[in-house]
């Protein structure tokens, strides 16, 4: 459903993306991994319209997305979260989710018809905090709220940029359950970026590995982890071992 190929993007002299590719079908969970600075977030920004790629093709269900505004891409069915959490701090938890649903009911009435704010709040464990101001929530809860808000746009593709960062083991397990639940709806594809490789291996049926703006390997986890280039990047010749467990 989502198909991304040959994306190039440079910032001044820095080539952040140099031929990045990815694809994701409905009811599939794919992982996008790679060391810090590999270009994962930049690729998410390109797909969601926050930056315009210099080259390459992005299509959703056959419709080209590149060159469209973030609003149009959201309306087309791409939802995302942000690596550095972006919430509406002065709105309540409920309003944070509802505001996305209100918009979806306008832009995508068919897809949004089955969504209810209360259900989303409950699914993401937010029901009891619905009336609290979002800015007063602890970090983990904000993450749930951001994902709930993304789901409230009734997406066809959900892009999660490091959703497990800052979550404890128990919360990561819940995240796994929630992502599985979204997949089982059958009409949403999920792209997960994360540095927690155990988590990634658990939730994703296919992986895309990036390094220095390029796709270096893709496929089912078992194959990917046997790829010499991936081994080089992740456990490589000693000096790159630091990239396996990033601090972030």
């Amino acid at each position: 459903m989502l198909s991304v190929s040959g994306i190039h993007k440079s910032f001044g002299g820095v080539l952040a993306l140099a031929g990045a590719s990815l694809d994701c079908a409905a009811s599939e969970v794919v992982g996008l991994i790679g060391p810090n600075g590999a270009g994962k977030s930049t690729l998410v920004n390109a797909i969601s319209g926050f930056l315009v790629p210099d080259q390459g093709m992005i299509t959703l269900g056959g419709q080209p997305l590149q060159g469209r505004s973030p609003q149009e891409i959201s309306a087309a069915g791409v939802a995302r979260t942000f690596q550095n959490l972006r919430i509406f701090p002065d709105l309540t938890v409920r309003q944070n989710v509802e505001v996305a649903l209100l918009r979806a009911r306008r832009l995508n009435p068919d897809r949004a018809a089955s969504l209810r704010t209360d259900d989303l709040l409950e699914t993401f464990g937010l029901a009891s905090r619905a009336r609290e101001t979002a800015g007063s929530l602890p970090y983990g809860t904000r993450r749930w709220m951001e994902i709930a808000r993304a789901m409230a746009t009734a997406p066809r593709i959900l892009l999660l940029d490091e959703p497990a960062a800052g979550l404890n083991d128990e919360e990561t397990e819940r995240l796994h359950q929630v992502i599985t639940l979204i997949r089982d709806r059958g009409d949403v594809g999920v792209v997960v970026i994360d540095h927690d490789l155990a988590f990634i291996n658990n939730v994703c049926s296919r992986l895309f590995v990036m390094d220095q703006g390029r796709l270096i390997a893709s496929g089912v986890p078992a194959d990917v982890w046997r790829d010499p280039q991936v081994i080089e990047v992740y456990v490589g010749p000693g000096n790159r071992a630091d990239t396996t467990e990033p601090i972030r």
Binding site: S48, G49, F50, S69, P70, Q71, E72, S74, A75, A79, R80, F82, R86, I87, F88, P89, D90, L91, R94, Q95, N96, E98, V99, A100, L102, R103, A104, L107, D118, D119, L120, L121, E122, T123, F124, G125, L126, A127, S128, R129, A130, R131, T133, R149, A150, M151, A152, T153, R174, Q177, V178, L181, I182, R185
Partner: protein
């Protein structure tokens, strides 16, 4: 996708009121102190106090009008007095009796020298003019955000003020435009102020208002969920202009005389200080700021002209109210930049207080914490 992922008790969220219900109930609560003060003044106060109260109500309407744009978009607006002026002059030009017009604007263009409308079509047409000018200016201003939008709003004020001053055939220039029929008093202004408070609250709680507030808090997050913040800023700008225009229309038919300087910096600063004091993110804040600062400034004006306490007369302190106004802005920015009420409405405080008194609610909190 309802699932038992959450261990919190079901039904923890009581079904909330629809947005318009919340807006009307909350708006009524915010208007309550205004109604009480207004009625007391109406029943017991002497004429000069009634006049002061009437002027305070007009300022309150302007502050609430300003809140509609600034409070929801998070952008400081310095041009709102231009719309007050446009409403006032529109009403003056359209409804002043022909005999008076012969004296004041005998050479008005577009045949306006020979026009004398009944107050209702006059007011409607004046509002229409305000709306059209707001619609045109919105096309420019809504593209901008942050400080750029503020600067353009200031430029807009300068342009309109300059037109008032330098087109004497229509606006009578620097001199006052007199002879406008005095049609209303305190009761009408009180009603209008309440209506305006409800309108502002309805916009704030409406789907569009909520989306605009969200985009003001995080533009990128708003973009990512498809919010069209440009269109929403445009709507807020126009509604804000209409409310300010209405305040101007009412001012014209209350005072009977208007002049360009009334709709310039002094009014901009006064109403902005009121909004900042109360807190621009809420309608209740706008109302509170307007009420409190009106009272304080009136007190200061009395001290300004010298008071006699126990036979001792204090010297006149001219300019004290200007200093006080500046101090309010400075102190507010330093001590409580979000204003007295912050982003909360009066009913949010009531709700918070009610919840904190309800036993059982706290148990649920604990349960959550240990989950």
């Amino acid at each position: 996708m309802k699932q038992d992922l959450d261990t919190a008790p079901a039904g923890a969220v009581a079904a909330p009121l629809p947005w318009w219900g919340r807006a009307l109930a909350g708006g009524a609560l915010a208007a309550l102190p205004v109604i009480v003060i207004g009625l007391i003044v109406l029943m017991v106060a002497p004429g000069w106090v009634q006049n002061l109260t009437a002027m305070a109500l007009i300022n309150l309407m302007i502050v609430v009008g300003l809140q509609i744009y600034s409070g929801n978009s998070g952008i400081v607006h310095l041009g709102h007095s231009a719309f007050v002026g446009l409403g006032a002059y529109g009403m003056a030009i359209l409804t002043t009796p022909l005999v008076m017009k012969k004296l004041s604007i005998p050479n008005a263009p577009f045949g306006l020298a020979g026009v004398e409308l009944h107050w209702l079509p006059g007011a409607a047409l004046a509002l229409l003019v305000v709306g059209v000018i707001a619609w045109i200016s919105a096309r420019v201003i809504a593209r901008l955000s942050g400080i750029a939008a503020t600067i353009v709003s200031l430029a807009f004020l300068m342009v309109i003020h300059s037109v008032f001053l330098h087109w004497p055939a229509l606006f009578k220039g620097n001199q006052g435009f007199f002879g406008i029929p005095k049609l209303i008093g305190l009761p009408e202004l009180l009603l209008a102020a309440c209506a305006v408070i409800l309108i502002a609250r309805l916009f704030r709680e409406s789907p569009g208002g909520l989306q605009l507030r969200a985009s003001a808090q995080d533009q990128k997050a708003a973009d990512a969920i498809g919010i069209d913040s440009r269109a929403l800023r445009r709507h807020a700008w126009i509604l804000s202009a209409l409310v300010c225009g209405l305040a101007g229309i009412l001012f014209a038919v209350f005072s009977g005389t208007i002049s360009p300087r009334l709709f310039f910096f002094q009014q901009v600063m006064l109403t902005l200080a009121m909004l900042i004091l109360g807190g621009m993110a809420s309608v209740s804040g706008a109302v509170a700021g307007a009420v409190i600062l009106s009272l304080v400034l009136e007190l200061i004006r009395n001290i300004e002209s010298g008071v006699t306490i126990g036979g001792v007369t204090t010297p006149a302190l001219l300019g004290l109210s200007g200093v006080a106004l500046g101090m309010v802005i400075v102190l507010c920015m330093a001590l409580r930049p979000q204003g007295l009420l912050g982003h909360r409405e009066a009913d949010d405080f009531l709700e918070k207080w009610r919840v904190s008194r309800t036993p059982g609610r706290n148990d649920r909190r604990d349960e959550n914490a240990t989950r």
